[in-house]
C-alpha cells in the first residue's frame, strides 16, 4: 500500500505521487481517473451531438440554402485554424511523452506552445466572426445579409454560431485546464509514476481538437 506521508529524500527529485486514502493503490487511482475522464469526454461528445442532429435536420430541410451559406465562410481561415488546432494537439501529446520521462521543463514548454496556438485559434476566429457581424450574416432574426435570400439560410448561421461558439467556449476551458497543469509541471511534479494530470489535460485538449475536426467539414467544406 502506498503511503502518502513518505517524502522523497533527494533534493530536486519529483514528489512522490499522492494516493488518496480511499484508493487501494496508485494503479487503481489512475485507472479511476482515466475511466472518469473517458466518461466525461463521452458526455461532451453527446452535448455536441445535439447540434449535429440540428444541423442534419435543417440541412435536409434546406439543402440549397445550406450549400450557398457554407460558401460564404472563409475557407482559408478555417483551414489555417484546423492546422493550428491539429498542431496544438500534437504538442499536447508531446507533453504527455515528456511527463513520462520526468522532463517537466519540456512539459511546460509544450503546454505553453499549445496554449499559444489555442490563443491564435481564437484570434483567427475573432476575425471570422467580426467579418460576419459586419456583413450581417447573423443567426435567426438578426440576419441582414443581402447576398443570399433563400429560406432557411439564417438557420445555417444560427447553427454556425452556436456550434463554433460552444466550441470556442471549450477552447477557453481547455486553455484554463492546460494552464493549471502547466503550473503543476513548473513545480516539477510529473514523472513516470505520476503523469495522470498531464494525460487527462491532454485528453481534454484532443476532444476540443476532435470536435473541430467534425465542425470544419460540416460547416466549411460540404
Amino acid at each position: 500500500m502506498q503511503s502518502s506521508s513518505a517524502v522523497a529524500g533527494t533534493a530536486g527529485a519529483p514528489p512522490v505521487p499522492q494516493v488518496a486514502a480511499h484508493f487501494a493503490s496508485l494503479e487503481v487511482q489512475n485507472h479511476a481517473a482515466r475511466l472518469g475522464m473517458w466518461l466525461f469526454l463521452a458526455t461532451e461528445i453527446l452535448l455536441f451531438a445535439g447540434l449535429f442532429v440540428c444541423y442534419a435536420c435543417y440541412r435536409f430541410l434546406f439543402p440549397d440554402a445550406f450549400a450557398a451559406a457554407s460558401r460564404e465562410l472563409n475557407l482559408l481561415m478555417g483551414t489555417i485554424n484546423t492546422l493550428v488546432l491539429i498542431t496544438s494537439s500534437f504538442t499536447a501529446a508531446m507533453a504527455v511523452h515528456y511527463a513520462k520521462e520526468a522532463q517537466n521543463k519540456k512539459v511546460v514548454a509544450m503546454f505553453v506552445l499549445t496554449i499559444l496556438m489555442a490563443l491564435g485559434f481564437l484570434v483567427i476566429k475573432y476575425f471570422e466572426y467580426a467579418h460576419k457581424f459586419h456583413e450581417g450574416q447573423l443567426p435567426g432574426a438578426y440576419y441582414r445579409f443581402e447576398g443570399i435570400q433563400l429560406p432557411g439560410v439564417s438557420m445555417y448561421f444560427t447553427i454556425y454560431f452556436l456550434s463554433t461558439g460552444l466550441h470556442a467556449f471549450h477552447v477557453i476551458i481547455g486553455m484554463a485546464v492546460l494552464a493549471w497543469v502547466t503550473t503543476k509541471a513548473m513545480r516539477n511534479e510529473f514523472s513516470y509514476r505520476n503523469y495522470t494530470a498531464v494525460e487527462l489535460g491532454s485528453m481534454y485538449w484532443h476532444l476540443v481538437d476532435l470536435v473541430w475536426i467534425f465542425l470544419f467539414p460540416m460547416l466549411y467544406l460540404i
Partner: protein, 557 residues
Amino acid sequence: MSPSSSIAAEPGAVPAPDEHHEHHPSYLTDGTTVKSWLLTLDHKRIGVMYLIWVLLFFLIGGIYALIVRLELLTPGPTIIDAMTYNRAFTMHGVVMIFLFMIPAIPGAFGNFMLPLMLGAKDVAFPKLNLTSLYLLLGGAAIAIWGMINGGMDTGWTFYTPYSTHTTTTVAPILFGAFIIGFSSIATGLNFIVTTHTMRAPGITWFKLPLFVWAMYATACIQVLATPVLGLVLLLVVGEHLFHFGIFDPALGGDPVLFQHLFWFYSHPAVYIMVLPAFGVMSEVVAAFSRKNIFGYRAVAFSSLGIAFVGFFAWGHHMFVSGQSTFNAGVFAVLTMLVGVFTAIKVFNWVGTVYKGAVDFKTPFAYFCGFLYFTVFGGMTGVAFATASLDVPWHDTYFVVAHFHFIMVGATIMAFMAALHYWFPKMFGKMYHEGWGLVSAALIILGFNATFIPQFLLGNAGMPRRYYEYPERYQTLNVASTAGASLLAFGFLISAIYLTYALVYGRRAASNPWRSRGYEWLTESPPPTHNFVGPQPTYSEEPHFYVDPKKAEVPDAV
C-alpha cells in the same frame, strides 16, 4: 413462533460487530461543526445532506401540488387566477422532477450505500461528489430565484415555440435545470467509476448487490442522456433571449425537433427515476422475505435492458405530432419492450416473496404498494404505447394519472421504503413500527384516492393543464383533491415520527432487520471510513439467505 425469530437462528447469520468496536465514533459524531458538514468529503455525510435537501424540495413541490389540486376543486376560479395556476403546475413539475425524483434515491441512498455495498471507503471522486451536491443546490437556487421573480407558465416540458415566446421568466429556470443536469452527470460518472474500480476483493460483478446494479444502470442513463438535455435547454434559453429561430416555425425552425431532443433525455429520465426504485425494492424484498432474490442475474440484466431500450422509446411522446404511421408503430413496439424487462423484475420479486418467511415491517408494506403501482402504472403504460389508444387519451388526465402511478407512485414507495429500511443504518435509531405502518397505509390509500379519479377523468375526456372545466367533472376532481389531502396527511405523520425517532428513538441494533445485504456488515451508523478492524470478507452472494426448510435438513439437496 413468528417467522422472523425462527430465522434469527439460521446458520451463517450476520454476526453483530465485536463489542470492542463499539467505542469508535460514527460518521455522525466525527466532527460536529457546521463546516465539518458543509465541506465534508465523506460520502455518508454528503448522502445525508442530499436527503435533507431533497426532502425540502419534496415539501416545496408538494405544496405546489396541493395548490393545483385546491384550485381544481371547483369548475371555475377557486383560489388563484389562471396565470398563477399555470405557474403553479409548471413549478410543481420542475421541482418534483429535477429537484426531487431524479436526485432523491441516487443522491441520498446511492451516495450513502453504494460504497458500503462495495466494501469501499468512499466513492472514487469525493470532491466531485460534493461538487455535485452544490451544483444541484446552485441550480435549484437559480431556478427558485426565477420562480419568485415571475415564474414560468410553459409546463415542465418547456414545449417550443410557446416557451420561446412567453413573457414569463424562462431563462433562469431553464439555466437552473441545465446546471442541475451537470450535477446529475457528475453523480452518474462517479457511480460508474466507483463500481468499476472500488469493489472490495471478493465482490465480483455477479456478487454486486442489486441496488448497485440498478444504480449502475441509472448512472449509464444519466451520463448518456443528460448532455442532450443540457444542449436543448441552452438552445431554448438562447432562442428565448435572442430569437435564434432554431425551433421557431416563423424563422424556418421546427418545434418538433425540440420534442425529439427533449424526449431523448426526458423519456430515459423516467428510468433515472424508477430504476433506483427497482434497486431499492430488490434489496427490501430479499431482506423482508428472508429469501435469496429469485433470478438474481435476470433482475440485474433487466436493469441494463431497461436502460438500453429506454433510449429508443422517446417517439411515443409524439404519436399525435404528425409522425408517420410506420414511425409510430416502431416506437410503439420499442416502448412495449420496456414492459418486458419490467415484467422480468416483477415476476422475480413475486418469486422471491413466494414461500418466503415474510416479515411485514414498514418497508415491506411499501414494497406491496410499490408492486401494485408498478404493475398498474406499467400496464397503463403498455396501453399508452399502443398508438391507437394514445390518440384519444393524449394530453388528458389519463396521462397525468399514468405517469404519477409509475413514476411517482413507484418511486415514492421505494423512497419511503429506503428511508425506513436504512434509517437504522444511517442514524443508528429505530422509528416506531406501528406509526410507520399507519403512515404507509395512509400514503398508499391517499395515492389511489388522488389518481384513480384522474384515470376516470381522463377517460371521460378532461384535458390536462386546464384551469377551468365543465360541471360534470367536478365530483371526480373533488375526490382527487380529497385523496391529495389524505396523501399529504400520511407524509405529515411520517415526518413527525421520523423526526421524533431521530431525537428520541431507541438505539438501533447493528443489523435490526438481520439483513444479509453487504451494507450491514459494518456498524450502524458506520464509522468515518466505513469499516473498523479487518475488512469484511465477501465470499457469499449479497442476498444469501439460507432456506429455512433446507437449513433444518442439511443433507437434503
